[in-house]
């Protein structure tokens, strides 16, 4: 039981690093993909947060990004191994097009996460650890403190710039 909890926490850290790196690489904090993402960013900034970090959070809400890709890839690996993960990547790609998102952060994140999750299942992790881990990772960004999360993302974005 303790082992599973530790695996979930480790999976959360790995998922967090994976999706934040891919999203920042694809420039999600740069501009809102749709007007709704910009509006969310402005409300987060009005609450004391950072505009760039808020923009990334708005973009995560408005289209499947690398975090959604990581979650669905983990779900895919859980039900059907690598083919399941790649099927999830295809569905994220379709989801991006449906959501008027011109980028490839979600698809890239899903393909990368498929191999990362599969790799960790070879060393004692379960794919379900990554499903719970990714939900914890998105909770730390979107669900605990928008002010602190957006400031952290904004700081990471300025390092990349």
């Amino acid at each position: 039981m303790l082992g599973e909890i530790l695996h979930i926490l480790a999976a959360a850290i790995i998922s967090w690093i994976l999706f934040v790196t891919v999203d920042i690489f694809f420039g999600l904090p740069e501009a809102g993909g749709v007007s709704g993402a910009t509006a969310i960013a402005q409300d987060i900034e009005a609450g004391g947060g950072d505009l760039s970090g808020g923009t990334m959070m708005g973009n995560i809400v408005c289209s499947p990004d690398a975090s959604a890709g990581t979650l669905l890839a983990a779900c895919g690996v859980y039900v059907a191994g690598i083919p399941g993960g790649l099927a999830a990547a295809l569905m994220v790609y379709i989801g991006n097009r449906i959501c008027h998102d011109p980028g490839y952060a979600g698809t890239t994140g899903a393909v990368l996460a498929t191999f990362v999750v599969y790799g960790f299942t070879q060393v004692g992790f379960a794919a379900s650890d990554f499903i719970a881990g990714m939900v914890i990772a998105i909770l730390t960004i979107q669900g605990l403190s928008h002010t602190h999360a957006s400031r952290l993302l904004g700081r990471l974005w300025r390092i990349r710039e």
Partner: protein
């Protein structure tokens, strides 16, 4: 099994935060966490390849809805 409880607990927490938050724009990220948790718990509850399609369809659909509501909140499409 613990994974399912963790995901379910986060879903309840995110739902409560979304209800309690007064600012509409800041409600969306909480609802987003809820969508992640529901999609994850679907797959953890029903371990079947078709569940993946159901979870992805639910997730993409709920994201599109959030996108549409947020863009309406922002003032709609500029024509």
């Amino acid at each position: 099994m613990i994974a399912l409880y963790v995901v379910a607990a986060i879903a309840v927490f995110a739902a409560a935060r979304a209800i309690l938050e007064r600012n509409t724009g800041r409600r969306f990220p909480y609802a987003n966490v809820l969508n992640f948790a529901v999609a994850g718990s679907l797959v953890l509850l029903l371990d079947h390849p078709i569940t993946l399609i159901a979870a992805a369809a639910y997730f993409v659909g709920s994201t599109l809805e959030a996108n549409a509501i947020a863009s309406t909140y922002a003032g709609g499409m500029k024509r």
